[in-house]
């Protein structure tokens, strides 16, 4: 469960196929803030402790700091580094390592997307003979997933340009053709203002790219007031229209994200804030979002960034969860999934994870499967 306590959805603003739903905080969180240098300049080089220089410009890597007195700079997120499609997992692990006291770095989201699955499933803990040496040594990395920059999503740039930011706005939920593309929540309205233009450089999944491309312009949800006959009645009707929209958004439009079963993994804790990553249930034909979330001591969301997975990505995620559940033992996992080791191995290959299996083992399975299958004339 993602707990959006303290955040209310305000009326959506539509532009073509894009629907943007602002999230407003009545009380901003002040002890978790964007680092001041984010306001000054965008491009900064980050030197990691062991002199690996990660220079450049990463769209969504966030550097977070935390203070308890609120006077010192409370940094939270920046755009650093360079768009590197492929990145070694060891390096990404270093990226979240504590660089200086009171500071946490986030993964860049595009790396997060590749790395999230991998980070969660560290690879086979037992070197069963089927797995390739690379898989045992490096886990799942490297692997690339397709993602589109927001600038490639049709109409998103215009939609964000003409979007009117609400007072106290701390978040935005982006829909493309009414498919939930991603949610962003920050602790403070000033942070949101600073980050709003960067949303167009966010990463969005293939699904979003296509639904924005093929969808008709989405209609506005216009308010209906009935016919009250007094001014007080009219005021009440207006207030009701607002609450109804908030309820509708949480229970219908964003239900897939807010109510979906997510597996959380805690990454770091700083004072009352906890940084976690989450994975979806990987059920097919449902919303599957991966993301990073910072929650406070009561579990309410202070920061949130999500990415919507495509069907193919969901399928891969599903296979990996099953394997993990059985300690990466092919036979037992296959038994639970109603198939045999050869069948599962071929499914892994078809899902694009063939490199995890030893080539000779895979060839053997393929041969066995070919002999088994009835010959087709």
């Amino acid at each position: 469960m993602i707990d959006l306590t303290g955040l209310r959805a305000r009326p959506a603003q539509c532009w073509g196929a894009i629907r943007l739903v602002p999230l407003v905080r009545s009380e901003p969180i002040t002890d978790l803030r964007l680092h001041p240098h984010v306001y000054d300049r965008e491009i900064t080089a980050v030197a990691l402790p062991d002199k690996t220089v990660y220079t450049s410009y990463i769209p969504h890597a966030m550097v977070a700091s935390w203070t308890d007195d609120g006077t010192a700079a409370a940094a939270y997120g920046t755009q650093l580094g360079e768009l590197i499609d492929r990145m070694d997992l060891h390096l990404t692990r270093r990226m979240v390592r504590r660089a200086e006291p009171g500071r946490v770095r986030f993964l860049p989201l595009h790396l997060a997307m590749e790395g999230f699955l991998a980070l969660h499933f560290g690879g086979p803990p037992i070197a069963w003979r089927e797995w390739s040496r690379q898989a045992v040594r490096d886990g799942l990395s490297p692997r690339e997933e397709a993602a589109y920059s927001g600038a490639e999503v049709r109409g998103l740039d215009d939609a964000l340009r003409v979007f009117e930011i609400h007072e106290g706005q701390c978040g935005l939920v982006v829909y493309a053709g009414d498919v939930l593309a991603g949610a962003t929540v920050v602790p403070h309205p000033d942070d949101y203002r600073a980050l709003h233009p960067s949303l167009v450089r966010d990463m969005y999944g293939e699904l979003i790219y296509h639904s924005a491309m093929h969808s008709y312009p989405v209609p506005d949800f216009t308010a209906r007031l009935g016919s009250p006959s007094t001014v007080a009645g009219l005021r009440a009707a207006v207030a009701r229209a607002h609450t109804e929209w908030d309820g509708f958004h949480a229970s219908v439009m964003a239900a897939g994200l807010l109510e979906g079963a997510h597996a959380f993994r805690r990454v770091r804790r700083l004072g009352r804030f906890t940084l976690s990553r989450f994975l979806p249930s990987f059920e097919r034909r449902r919303d599957n979002h991966i993301g990073e979330v910072v929650t406070d001591h009561r579990g309410a969301v202070a920061y949130l960034k999500t990415f919507r997975l495509s069907e193919a990505q969901t399928r891969r995620g599903h296979l990996l969860t099953r394997l993990e559940a059985h300690d990466w033992h092919l036979e037992t996992a296959a038994r639970e999934m109603d198939t045999d080791a050869a069948g599962l191995a071929l499914r892994i290959e078809r899902a694009g994870l063939g490199h995890l299996l030893r080539q000779d083992v895979l060839d053997g399975y393929r041969k066995a499967k070919a002999g088994q299958a009835p010959s087709r004339g």
Binding site: R10, I165, V231, A241, W245
Partner: protein, 447 residues
């Protein structure tokens, strides 16, 4: 039924012709604006030719007036239309008229009426020698296009500048001398002098200091020197005030406020204080920033209207969408919760409610229309509401409306507000086409 459609068509054209300048707006590009406007012009000229030419007599902007003149002349204008065009050209800025003549030449429009219009306009120019220096190329083309013969040395100046060793008119001679004499540069109009200054490599600062007396009022304003606030019209004054940084607006508050008030008093004239209780809902949402072309234009229009309504009304209240306090410190930010603000305004039970907004009601969408509907149907059917919209919506071929029952009119200059409130009553279809034509006839006859 036909009457209603005709009435709507005419009004949407007038609204478009008042608001659109073919420049970029907050929600549409310059290209979209031009394409949409061009279609509208063709449609109206084809279907309501009489109204199309009569629009020249209304407060439409120069961009549209030039478009109408061009289209009419290209399509064989009648004598009446010729007169309307000539009358309108007299009030237009000369550079716009020269641009129109250049465009006519480019389009190959060279009928007798066109030549007559060009000849008549040039004949009435107070100082053709000045035009010959400042708009040299345009004047030359216009003269050539209309087969005119210029008096005296002007013809030689334009077409054979080397024929005479010296010219009698001082300005013409200054232009000749400016080719080799630095001092003569400062006798020329600013735009012409600028080219010579570059040629003589005069340092920019020295040039600007010396040329200042030759600048027009707007050139001086653009060059950053302190303008003469008292002479400026309302919206330009509002634009100037809104362009100042926040601290300067605070420190010069009294001066700006007094200038805006004086301008408003001037515009209100004899109507001051005659409108009874007026409440205004003024849009200061982010979209009132306009665009890079029309910076803060919608907000400036709202601020101008605010000052004018203050003078017109007996009892006045203003409500900005999100801004509180001093209206001079307003800035374009936030969403557009028009519905709620309209409800607040209606509760003050005004005689007239004026809404100045681009009509993109988005928090939530459609709430303003619902509030107006419920108010009219259930609470007070007599409430007078007028919506003035400074932004042309290219996709809708009209300014965006709040609701079908609420009269909406496009607005460009705050000074035209009283006339627009009058025009807006045609927009709900309650006043007929005949009375609209009558109104237009009156407007074309007067002056």
């Amino acid at each position: 039924m036909n009457d209603v459609i005709a009435c709507e068509d005419v009004l949407l054209f007038v609204n478009a012709a008042i608001t659109s300048t073919g420049q970029r707006e907050f929600r549409s590009t310059a290209g979209e604006q031009r394409l949409s406007l061009d279609f509208l012009h063709r449609y109206i000229m084809g279907n309501y030719r009489e109204v199309y030419s009569a629009a020249l007599a209304l407060e439409i902007n120069d961009h549209n007036a030039a478009l109408i003149a061009r289209n009419l002349l290209a399509d064989g204008a009648t004598e009446r239309e010729g007169r309307l065009i000539a009358r309108r050209l007299r009030t237009m800025a000369p550079q716009r008229v020269y641009a129109l003549f250049t465009e006519l030449r480019r389009a190959g429009v060279n009928n007798r009426r066109t030549r007559a219009v060009i000849g008549e306009w040039l004949g009435e120019r107070p100082d053709l020698a000045f035009d010959a220096v400042k708009y040299r190329r345009a004047l030359k083309e216009a003269v050539r296009h209309a087969h005119l013969r210029l008096p005296g040395e002007l013809g030689d100046f334009l077409f054979a500048p080397r024929r005479r060793a010296r010219l009698d008119a001082p300005l013409l001679d200054a232009w000749r001398r400016a080719h080799h004499e630095t001092r003569a540069v400062y006798e020329l109009p600013y735009t012409v002098a600028e080219g010579f200054a570059a040629r003589h490599r005069i340092p920019r600062e020295r040039f600007l200091a010396a040329i200042a007396p030759r600048m027009t009022r707007l050139e001086r304003l653009r060059s950053g020197s302190a303008p003469d606030l008292a002479a400026m019209p309302l919206v330009r004054l509002a634009s100037y005030a809104l362009a100042l940084p926040h601290e300067e607006r605070v420190s010069r508050r009294a001066e700006l406020h007094a200038a805006l008030r004086a301008s408003a008093v001037r515009a209100a004239g004899g109507r001051a204080g005659s409108w009874g209780r007026v409440t205004a809902v003024l849009d200061d949402s982010f979209s009132s920033y306009g665009s890079g072309h029309k910076r803060r234009r919608p907000l400036a229009v709202a601020l101008g209207c605010h000052y004018l309504l203050r003078e017109l009304a007996g009892q006045y209240r203003a409500m900005w969408l999100s801004h509180r306090g001093d209206p001079l410190l307003v800035r374009p930010a936030g969403a557009t919760p028009l519905g709620e603000r309209l409800l607040d305004a209606l509760e003050t039970r005004p005689d007239l409610l004026v809404v100045v907004s681009d009509g993109w009601d988005n928090a939530p969408p459609g709430l303003a229309a619902e509030v107006l509907r419920v108010w009219r149907e259930r609470i007070d059917p007599s409430a007078g509401v007028v919506h003035l919209n400074p932004v042309y919506d290219a996709g809708g071929f009209d300014v965006r409306r709040l609701s079908p029952e609420t009269p909406t009119a496009g607005i460009r200059d705050a000074e035209s507000l009283p006339a627009l409130v009058e025009l807006a009553r045609f927009a709900t279809g309650r006043a007929g086409y005949a009375s609209l034509l009558g109104y237009l006839g009156e407007r074309t006859a007067e002056r």
